[in-house]
């Protein structure tokens, strides 16, 4: 297993009471599998992703990323875990305005203590993999929305993560470009054997997923095997 979320409960303060965002959610995603998480707004999809990304600590439950339990880890250790093990694809590309496309990837190597100059070759390879080999020198404002999202995806892969967490990657794209991005994510999950969680509101993407988890009112309600190429291996969801 690469992502193990067990009995996760997460609450937020809401006036004098607390709002339950996640209620005893358990989710296990093995390597090489793409699990789609769907549900209406406020159902807990983003909270689930934030917990998996170690950006928020749940009230109850355990989080294990590639075998490492996150309970008791310092902020510094959690940052290192995110840097080395987890690739995050944000809903919006969240690219740094001063960096070129290649540098958006190189900064990941820099954060990990490697010399950015030496990582350029790998950055260019990844940009080539997402179809942006000829856009490496362009800054975000010189790229289209789809191109920015591809850079966002390539950046998440830069440090060879074993876990990919993807938040609404097609929300700002038209249908055609959105489909291309989903194809890319599916291919990367299987080719690079990452454990991938894809949060999406677009049910047309579910066909690409190996599994689908439906979230409602903070609970993982139902689960169905997707129609993706690796369908058949059941994720564990309660």
């Amino acid at each position: 297993m690469s992502i193990d979320l067990t009995g996760i409960t997460l609450t937020y303060p809401d006036g004098d009471s607390r709002l339950t965002a996640l209620d005893e959610v358990t989710l296990h995603v093995p390597k090489g599998r793409l699990t789609a998480v769907v549900g209406p707004s406020g159902s807990g999809k983003s909270s689930l992703l934030a917990v998996a990304a170690t950006l928020i600590t749940p009230d109850h439950g355990t989080v294990r990323i590639d075998g490492t339990g996150t309970a008791g880890l310092s902020r510094r250790d959690l940052a290192e875990l995110r840097r080395r093990t987890i690739g995050i694809v944000f809903q919006q590309p969240n690219l740094l305005p001063s960096l070129t496309a290649a540098e958006q990837l190189q900064v990941m190597a820099h954060l990990d203590g490697r010399r950015p100059a030496r990582s350029r070759t790998r950055a260019l390879e990844l940009l080539d993999a997402v179809g942006l080999a000829d856009q490496a020198h362009r800054r975000p404002h010189e790229l289209s929305g789809g191109q920015r999202q591809r850079v966002n995806i390539a950046r998440a892969l830069m440090n060879d993560p074993t876990v990919l967490l993807i938040d609404e990657p097609t929300s700002a794209l038209d249908h055609e470009r959105g489909a291309a991005v989903i194809d890319l994510i599916t291919g990367l999950t299987h080719d690079r054997s990452t454990a991938t969680i894809l949060v999406t509101h677009d049910r047309t993407h579910l066909a690409a997923a190996d599994e689908t988890v439906e979230m409602r009112d903070g609970r993982a309600l139902a689960r169905a095997a997707g129609e993706g190429p690796a369908a058949g291996q059941e994720p564990v969801v309660t």
């Binding site: 950006l55 840097r83 944000f90 590309p93 969240n94 960096l99 954060l111």
Partner: protein, 362 residues
Amino acid sequence: MFVAWRDLRFAKGRFALMGTVIVLITLLVGLLSGLTAGLGRQNISAITGLPADRITFAAPSGGQDLSYADSAVTAEQVRRWEKAPGVTTAEPLGITTTTAAAEDRSTGVSALGVRPGSALAPDSRAIDDRTAVLSATAARELGLEPGGTFTLAGQELTVAAVRGDAHFSHTPVIWTSLTTWQHTAPPLSGGDKPAATVIALTTTGDADPAATDEAAGTRTVTRDASLAAIGSYTSENGSLQLMRGFLFAISALVIGAFFTVWTIQRSADVAVLKALGASTAHLLKDALGQALVLLTAGAALGTGLAAAFGALLGGTDVPFVLTPATVLVPAAVMIVLGALGAALSIRRITSVDPLTALGSAR
């Protein structure tokens, strides 16, 4: 510094604007420092150049502060100090501000009276009751060279030599004999002539100035402490140092304000970097490095301009001192205070929540 360098290049306008402010403040502080030192030198160089470690004043009455203008020591007090244990030399020194004239020129000068051969004055063996040694500025303002004649408070004197460029209370110094000086000095309350204004001492560790002061009716302070007895120096230097201090404080606040706004503007980027795994220490180091690059570049350019201005002013009458202490020290203080202001501003990086990177619209 990977992101910081690229931010500097990308946001050229913003950083150029802030850099210009740093350059101008550094230039202003540099010019003010040179001017402060120059004005100070015009006030005190005759005293700081004395080969003495202590200065003895006539004890002021009524709890008044020491003052070069009011002090007048007697011959008896000079004799007591000459015989005091631990005192190597006790040289009487008369100081009066008066007017010197040569042909159609006249200028305000400080007449400093010494005993012929005294170590206090340069070339003092050439000084007698008819000759004087002029500082370079006094000679220039009076248009005199060695051998020339001039009048000092009605006495005609010959220029024995032109040596040094000592000033006292913003007037150039003319070194005279004590007898000549006594003709320029105001009489004591009883109508007698004062022996000197102060006594310049060189002492050893055996000296007991307090005991001798008690016996002689004098008060002795170190040479540097005696500068406070030059009234114009204390008030003038205090005002200029206050201005310098305010400039330093303003620069720290301006730099702090700039980096506060800058950090707020890029807090979304910081959240993304944190979410991607950047440690807070790494981000703080990056931001502080960026501030130091800006500060160092701005301070270097401002210092260069201040030095260039100082070099230009060197050939004029403007009292400007161009030394590492007047140009480099203010730049170093600017960098340190600016970095402090920036550090206080960028610490808000620690409070940026990486969670905001999820779902944030950019």
